[in-house]
């Protein structure tokens, strides 16, 4: 299998469509025949990140790079940036507004969930410019 590149745009403030890109990526991974656990972990991590893009930034872009060994997803937004990444990584810490909480998100589990389901996460954030999250999911168990 060659490396497959996929691109999705995420619209700002469109909570109805949030998750559309993650769902498409999930179905594509399933179609390519990846293990259900790999598909699910990728889908959940990207979904949380996509929701964050809609809540905190003005949308953004998702680029996935799929190879037999690993799935790498880069989520780039032009939002306000994250002032304190270690604080944002803490379970239960949230800056989401009340209307987002009413929709079932903003429990402070977004970034912790992304970290939990990914094998590697890099967060590159600049205040006033935006945030880029790069997550990697290994598709095969590490060889001993």
């Amino acid at each position: 299998m060659e490396v497959i590149q996929l691109h999705y745009d995420v619209n700002a403030n469109d909570f109805t469509c949030a998750g559309e890109a993650s769902g498409k990526l999930k179905r594509e991974l399933k179609r390519l025949g990846f293990e259900p656990d790999v598909v699910r972990r990728t889908a959940i991590a990207v979904y949380e990140a996509e929701i964050n893009m809609v809540i905190h930034a003005d949308g953004g872009a998702i680029d996935a790079s799929i190879s037999p060994e690993c799935i790498t997803v880069v989520l780039k937004d032009r939002g306000p940036g994250i002032p304190d990444v270690s604080l944002a990584m803490r379970e239960g810490y949230s800056t989401a507004p009340e209307n987002v909480r009413n929709l079932g998100f903003g429990a402070g589990m977004g970034l912790p969930n992304i970290k939990k389901y990914s094998d590697k996460v890099d967060i590159d954030t600049v205040i006033g410019e935006g945030t880029t999250i790069t997550l990697r999911i290994n598709t095969a168990p590490a060889e001993n």
């Binding site: 998750g19 769902g23 949380e48 929709l103 079932g104 998100f105 429990a107 589990m109 389901y117």
Partner: protein, 116 residues
């Protein structure tokens, strides 16, 4: 337990998914916080919730869930039904409250995830 058993036990009604009632389900979770649902993946096939918005269906989709039960008499809107139809997820509604719904299903053999 089959999905159709859930309808009987909760005295519920089927909003969508008549064709999928013979699916087997063993585990469930109940929550109005979707991020909490996403935090614990343990093959739960059923989501019980009082929350009504498209992200409920999308959360179930990401988790490979087979059935969503709306408690406290909540009804999904047409957009959610369309989404569930595309994803082949059964939608059930019941007038029972969350606690009672979970308790009844547990008493009939459905189990929760095993946590972290």
């Amino acid at each position: 337990m089959k999905v159709r058993d859930i309808v009987d036990i909760l005295d519920g009604s089927i909003v969508f998914g008549e064709d999928y009632l013979d699916r087997d389900v063993y585990r469930a979770c109940g929550s109005d916080m979707m991020s909490d649902v996403l935090a614990f993946v343990k093959e739960q096939a059923v989501l019980l919730t009082g929350l009504v918005n498209p992200q409920v269906v999308r959360t179930a989709e990401m988790m490979d869930m087979k059935c969503i039960v709306f408690v406290r008499g909540k009804s999904p809107d047409i957009g959610m039904i369309d989404l569930a139809q595309e994803r082949e997820i059964v939608l059930i509604k019941t007038d029972l409250e969350m606690f009672t719904s979970c308790g009844l299903l547990y008493a009939h053999g459905l189990r929760g995830g095993s946590g972290k």
